[in-house]
Symmetry: C2
Subunit: 183 residues, 2 copies
Amino acid sequence: MPARPYHHGALRAALLEAAEQILERDGLDQLSLRAISRAVGVSHAAPAHHFGDLRGLLTVLATLGFRRFAISLEAAATSAGDPLRALGRAYVQFARTQPGLFLLMFHHKVLAGDDADFQQATAEAFATLSRVAAVSPLGTDTAVRGRGALASWCLVHGFCMLMLDGRLPSQPGLDLLLEELLA
Amino acid sequence: MPARPYHHGALRAALLEAAEQILERDGLDQLSLRAISRAVGVSHAAPAHHFGDLRGLLTVLATLGFRRFAISLEAAATSAGDPLRALGRAYVQFARTQPGLFLLMFHHKVLAGDDADFQQATAEAFATLSRVAAVSPLGTDTAVRGRGALASWCLVHGFCMLMLDGRLPSQPGLDLLLEELLA
DNA sequence: GCCTTATCTTGTCGCTGTCAAGATAAGGTT
DNA sequence: AACCTTATCTTGACAGCGACAAGATAAGGC
């Protein structure tokens, strides 16, 4: 049994793990099929069989991201306290702890938006979002509640994007800033 | 006098114009120094003298974008009606009519954030933003609980980002959606 | 034991950004 | 006018990239 057998065994998972690591460490622009392959220790064309092309790999990565995103949001929604605030905190927390992945997930230019799994994963996450935001104390009219949900989403998402672009003031801290926003 | 003299005369401006055209037509990922050079009709290394590297060119492009952005916002701030709402409309209008440029401007990964001109241009735009927003907090919708300028900024910026990522519902139209948000 | 299929490697192509070296022209100096 | 300095642009090269084709290797079904 050589140190590196011809068949990896779990190459797909290993590639995804390495890809996410590079994504968070070096950013999306440094995330190449060849860099991933090097990190795992396989040939540069190995990923092709599992993901087709780079777009395919990124789409799978974003899909897994949305699944984890949905889980985090769902957990926040069922936690104690104000669900909508908890949701906002979880949203920002996700973007903050995995900025590379978060930006990738909302970077449709490099993703295969028509992928079925991807669409399902995004729908899953957004369903939790709109469900919680809809039952928030904003009134009984469904149209108004829908609008409120959208406003909340834009508010929190804008906060994340500005934060990740380094546009938010460093004083006071981001936590405090967010709490003021959600207050 | 040949059809293409050795010295272009206004190569810098021509390169920037071509770059913006490619940026809006094909997106940032298709915007290469070589593509720009081809579009203008010069050699592939011609841009280097004017911009150093690709990052330098993109930074100049984003700087010009922020200058135009500041002008648009300033015009909206001094227009009739509610200044903050006008500002929000102008913000979205800019992102909508020049999505490539807008995304580039908020894509710090590919820009030289320490560039003096760039910093001045961004400060110029954000000054108008905070000046107007500080006076009149946006909306009475309870979803927007933050009453500061930051909340308005996040709300409108988030709207833009979600819009440009194709995440907003197509029905009703974006204009109506935005008006409801600013209401 | 054989054959089909999945998996991975090697080699190649055109594209990219960047650098080095040279060609060309413009402007100032004498 | 002649020269020289400088700015501008071209040519050529190199490594890294995504993608494709062809071949090597191993796993699993029969």
